[in-house]
């Protein structure tokens, strides 16, 4: 039987790996991309008219809290991956801070089995760096690698013991696993709720200083440099951290770094009425920090955009700002927010956006995705840049609604998504298999 053919006709194809940004047809045969070019033959192919739309490599999110196992009241593999698909993500990495945490083979295997059963997109597990995420002793990293993890992280917690972090970086080298650092010196951030600055001062809320991130990022950059290991810095939020990464990259340190849509879009001013949906860790920082993050994304000091999708129930978020948990969801609004606040005003090109959402995350993990090269796996996301919509409680596939963008007027919507050549989103809605 000949493979199914699908022709995306006349879209704006943006493929940073091949330095392509042009109006073209894209032909998918079976699971793979067959060709990108002008007026490709449609014979035997289902044709999807992509005129006026943007054809991206499927987005890859290195930082998702799927909450399974253990906290399925917040999110499940099924709901989390449906949210991912709706947001144009074809591959997501599941953070290890589940209950129990992914510090051993059975938990990783449980997640992978759950993904085979109910996932709509690719799920790549991240293993814990330390046993029980306790920051006291190394997890069985070899066992985790054998179980299929693609990176290591204690995200949600910081590894405060510098010696342990050094040994983790060294040990992970033999498995070629990057360590994703949630950089936070918790002796500096303890008790903090929002960015320490003029807004927290006026509001009488205990602050989380930028130094709590930068001090730890600086430590990790030096340890990565000394060990020659692969470091990825999660959710960079502070200008000081950006400066440290820029300097480290200048010295040739093997570091990549990510930034979230919410840190790119918002500042601590959003907390003026103490709304818990703007509470996350690291916190929304100042206008100056946001400007530094945007500039660093443009010049490549920050490599990837990751959502840090962190679902929490309404009951948990319906508390005062101190009691509410840190974290916001982000999969379904990410590309629309980025198009609205960065691309539309001319602060970021589509190529830069695609690099940060697809190509660079694939490179950070060393996985053969994130491109539209002929022969590559056909993970493709089609976005209508003209679609205006509003995020409301009803639009979310995620089990949780803790989005800071509810009520925002957004420009740009995901219309079609293909995973290995198979359609998983049609006219903006997840196709139920």
């Amino acid at each position: 039987m000949a493979p199914t053919k699908l022709l995306l006709r006349g879209g704006r194809v943006v493929d940073p790996a091949n330095r392509v940004d042009t109006t073209a047809d894209l032909l998918i045969e079976g699971e793979r991309i067959a060709a990108v070019g002008d007026r490709l033959s449609a014979s035997g192919a289902e044709v999807v008219e992509a005129d006026g739309q943007i054809v991206f490599p499927g987005f890859i999110d290195l930082h998702v809290h799927l909450r399974s196992p253990g906290r399925e009241e917040k999110e499940t593999v099924a709901t989390g991956t449906r949210a991912a698909a709706k947001g144009g993500f074809t591959t997501i990495c599941a953070m290890a801070n589940t209950e129990p945490p992914a510090d051993n083979r059975p938990v990783v295997e449980f997640l992978l089995a759950e993904a085979r059963r109910s996932a709509v997109v690719n799920v790549l597990p991240i293993g814990a760096v330390t046993k029980g995420l306790a920051g006291e002793s190394l997890a069985d990293i070899g066992e985790l690698k054998a179980a299929g993890v693609v990176a290591l992280s204690d995200d949600g917690r910081s590894i405060m013991n510098a010696h342990l972090m050094r040994r983790a970086l060294e040990y992970a080298k033999m498995f070629e696993l990057p360590i994703i650092s949630h950089a936070e010196d918790t002796t500096l951030s303890a008790g903090g709720v929002m960015h320490e600055g003029l807004v927290s001062l006026k509001q009488g809320v205990q602050g989380i200083p930028s130094t709590s991130e930068a001090v730890m990022a600086g430590r990790d950059l030096l340890l990565a440099e000394a060990t020659g290991a692969r470091l990825h810095l999660a959710h960079v939020s502070a200008r000081e951290t950006v400066d440290l990464i820029r300097a480290a990259k200048g010295r040739g340190v093997a570091v990549t770094a990510e930034v979230t849509p919410h840190h790119l879009a918002l500042t601590d001013e959003s907390l003026h009425d103490y709304a818990p949906n703007y509470k996350m860790n690291p916190p929304l920082r100042s206008e100056g920090d946001r400007a530094a993050l945007r500039a660093a994304l443009r010049d490549g000091v920050l490599d990837t955009i990751a959502t840090d999708h962190a679902p929490h129930t309404q009951a948990e978020k319906d508390r005062d700002l101190e009691a509410a948990p840190f974290g916001v969801i982000g999969l379904e609004t990410a590309v629309a927010v980025l198009l609205t606040v960065l691309v539309k005003p001319g602060l970021l090109s589509l190529t830069q956006l695609a690099a940060a959402l697809s190509w660079q995350p694939a490179r950070a993990l060393g996985i053969p995705r994130g491109t539209l090269s002929p022969g590559a796996v056909a993970d493709v996301t089609v976005v209508d840049p003209g679609r205006a919509w509003q995020a409301t409680a009803e639009t979310f596939e995620s089990k949780s609604l803790n989005s800071p963008f509810i009520g925002w007027a957004l420009h740009g919507g995901v219309t079609e998504v293909f995973l290995g050549g198979r359609r998983i989103v049609h006219t903006g809605e997840v196709v139920t298999p």
Partner: protein, 328 residues
Amino acid sequence: MSMSATPWTRKDLLGLEGLSAEELTLVLEQAKAFKEVSLRPIKKVPALRGRTVVLFFLEPSTRTRTSFELAAKRLSADILNIQAASTSLTKGETIMDTVRNIEAMKVDILVIRHSVSGVPLTVAKTAAASVINAGDGSHEHPTQGLVDLYTILEKKGQIAGLNVAIVGDISHSRVARSNLWGLTTLGARVTLCGPPTLVPPGIERLGVTVTYSLKEAMREADVVMLLRLQLERQQQHLLPSIREYAALFGVNREKLAWGKPDMIVMHPGPVNRGVELAPDVADGPQSVIYDQVTNGVAVRMAVLYLVSGGRPAKTPKPAPHPERPVTA
């Protein structure tokens, strides 16, 4: 002080930040009218007859609660006291659940004290009742700020142009924040003084001066306001010891001489005697601490009256005004 023509249009009093000089003056004038009432043999007026005031205190505070209770009583309101121990909040009920329950009883004014900043604001966003912030976390304590403004005005005859030094733990003080907004709006020059660990960096951007020297702070001061030091600050590495704090920032008779002879000494209470204030200064001729307590009732009467839809008057009218603009 002349009668202001500006009407009070706010449903709530959540903080002094953002209040105009006219609005502040309006409250102070109204408080003056009520203070005159409190000097009469019969101290009660019927301004809030038939209205229900809930005193919802989720953090212990005998002083502020008593002051509000007396104020509401003198306005003839019905009063409901709800305190931390008597609520189901400990059983996992959220603050909003509790407020919805209280609201279902059709109350008119909610006076809220809470240890977390922002809670009164969150409540005010959904509550139909007027909300008065009786102190939230380290955010604001607007009625205490108004009491202090009133007391300064009473003692000094004006606020514009005065030098006011606020000394102590500025970082964690809601009293300092409310005073900062009120005083700067009314044209006083505010100097904040304390160790750098207790004075937030960047606070100069709010239009105040910072010094780490008590002598410097007191040199030109017409008013020196000492803040209560929470004694646990030394466990948080903010201070080496209470003894050293008292030596550097506590005011005793000797240091009082650094200031002008007519400088007044204020404290929101309760005083840690021997820490921020020596007993002989607290009870001395320059201290206006007990005037602050007395004025507390009149100022809180004014606030209750205005948020409930009252109109400024020298002598409050007996009938309550039913209409209440909701524009806050």
